[in-house]
């Protein structure tokens, strides 16, 4: 009994919409399922090491959650799937060449520092997987910027290190990127299916969109954040992303590269760390898109989605509150005028 009450409380606190037949547990496991195609594509392209990285990441996350809750004599909640999801998401954002202690450290930080110390699921301000990612990005900057050429063969071979499309775009420009793959069509198809260097789970746009479509169809996520996020980023890429002045950028290229698809559908939509009011979600998405492009085009890093979402996470409670108080304020004003 204790248990079902807890679960109901979680649903109410994270989302104001009535979905009595859905439990948090069910939703979280569905998101895990939706990420499976992308994970499999990552393993297909980057080989057995990719599978090992994801496995270490998930195992560490689950063990940390279990250990922390045991140590503090709290109820163990690893069966709700949220630790698995954090581990999986974090693993998918890693470059395929990292040594296995990086998923270990990152998952530990994600679960213990970013989630449990704030009070566990439902109380964390920042997306745990992204905090883990930011932590290892800053701690191991060299290891985190080594990218592998996809091999698309499930064998242990020394894959060539290379730069990501975004890295090349930033450092050497679009022409260089085209040289690599020949035609625009080749470039786009490669990026669509995930035959490009990048993080494990971010490269295969098709697999990610399949998962996203499933979640949208089941209404586990709403379109507001991903659509406003991606359209803002695309618009800004088109206006400011070109090398020959305004309106010469390539929005499609920017949307297919980096981790923007993975992040827009699976991270920015996290119930706990994004606004729960529709209007607020659109503001949140626009903010994410704006910050992403600001970092990509003007910042020191080639990719900016991680910091963009983390920064917008800070504003989520504020966005939610400002939209609520607007309604109260309007009523009050009316009363005063009478």
């Amino acid at each position: 009994m204790e248990r079902s009450r807890d679960q109901n409380r979680l649903i109410v606190s994270t989302s104001p919409h009535i979905r009595s037949e859905e439990t948090t547990q069910h939703i979280v496991w569905s998101v895990n399922l939706a990420l499976l195609p992308a994970a499999l594509m990552g393993i297909y392209f980057f080989g057995p090491m990719a599978a090992a990285i994801i496995a270490v990441s998930i195992t560490t996350a689950v063990l940390c959650e279990y250990g922390y809750q045991k140590a503090l004599k709290k109820r163990v909640t690893i069966d709700d799937g949220s630790a698995v999801l954090t581990g999986l998401l974090f693993g998918l954002t890693l470059p395929p060449s990292v040594p296995l202690y990086i998923p270990f450290v990152g998952s530990f930080v994600a679960i213990v520092l970013a989630k449990q110390l704030f009070g566990g699921l439902g109380f964390n301000i920042f997306n745990p997987a992204l905090i883990g990612r930011a932590f290892v990005q800053i701690s191991f900057p060299k290891l985190m910027t080594v990218w592998l050429e996809p091999t698309a063969a499930f064998v242990f071979i020394d894959a060539k290190t290379t730069a990501t499309p975004l890295g090349i775009l930033k450092e050497e420009g679009l022409q260089k990127l085209l040289e690599h793959s020949g035609t625009y069509l080749n470039l786009y198809t490669n990026m669509l299916f995930g035959h490009r260097p990048g993080s494990l789970g971010e490269t295969s746009v098709v697999a990610l969109l399949m998962g996203a479509a499933f979640l949208l169809y089941r209404r586990y996520i709403s379109w507001h954040i991903p659509v406003s996020f991606l359209s803002t980023a695309g618009l800004l890429a088109w206006v400011f992303g070109g090398s020959e002045g305004l309106f010469t950028g390539d929005p499609v290229l920017h949307l297919l590269s980096g981790g923007i698809i993975l992040s827009a559908f699976f991270m920015a939509t996290d119930y706990v760390t994004s606004p729960s009011i529709r209007k607020g979600q659109i503001i949140f998405g626009i903010g994410c898109g704006f910050l992403t492009m600001l970092i990509r085009l003007k910042g020191g890093y080639p990719e900016g989605v991680m910091f963009a979402i983390l920064l917008m996470n800070c504003f989520s409670p504020l966005i939610d509150r400002s939209f609520r108080s607007n309604v109260f304020g309007a009523a009050e004003r009316k009363g005063l005028l009478k």
């Binding site: 450290v105 520092l113 932590f135 800053i138 701690s139 191991f140 900057p141």
Partner: protein, 207 residues
């Protein structure tokens, strides 16, 4: 507090280091605690500067406590503090120039430390010279000890060195020497300190 002679001097020092530790218990002066603790050397000299200022301010205020008019005591305290900070600033620039180059700005900021003004107002202006000396020493040492622990933690795990000497041979967690990691380090050590202190204070016979 005025009958401080009943408390032993050792108690006064222990109070500053444990019960009212500026950083770990009062959570004051966190800005320099994060800014200067990227290496043990910087953290140590910053702590020494604070010990010096706290002791000298306490002594000065205590010596003048009957002479100072109540109405302008706070401006007088501030003048005394800024005077001693200027002195320590000049001394460090002269004798430890390489440390001063990195922490100089924060040495000057000691003027604005809440803990120093608070001890002058709450303790030194009401007590005789010797207790004020030990109170200043305790509070200053509390800050020094905290800074030393934080900087050992950050230098060892962030750069893999202690006092510039390589211990680990790699940079295990670079984030610790960056500002973001400074917050992590202070938070983790603060939790550890309070956990240990709670266990210590719970023991019978301890204060």
């Amino acid at each position: 507090m005025s009958d401080a002679n009943q408390i032993s001097y050792w108690e006064l020092i222990k109070n500053g280091i444990l019960k009212e530790n500026t950083i770990f218990k009062l959570a004051l002066s966190l800005c320099p605690a994060i800014a200067v603790t990227t290496s043990l050397k910087n953290g140590f000299f910053m702590g020494v500067a604070v010990v010096f200022v706290q002791v000298m301010v306490n002594l000065t205020v205590s010596a003048m406590r009957k002479f100072i008019h109540q109405r302008i005591r706070l401006p007088i305290f501030m003048l005394v503090i800024s005077g001693w900070v200027t002195v320590v600033n000049l001394l460090m620039d002269a004798y430890v120039p390489d440390v001063y180059k990195e922490v100089g700005l924060y040495i000057q900021l000691i003027v604005a430390f809440a803990s120093i003004l608070a001890r002058a107002e709450m303790f030194a202006s009401k007590n005789r010279l010797t207790p004020s000396l030990f109170d200043g020493l305790g509070m200053g040492l509390g800050f020094l000890v905290a800074l030393v622990f934080i900087s050992i933690f950050r230098e060892l795990f962030g750069k893999g060195t202690i006092l510039g000497v390589s211990i680990i041979g790699a940079k295990p967690l670079l984030i610790l020497v960056l500002p973001a990691g400074g917050f992590f380090a202070v938070g983790i050590l603060m939790a550890l300190f309070n956990w240990l202190y709670a266990r210590y204070a719970a023991k019978p016979g301890a204060h």
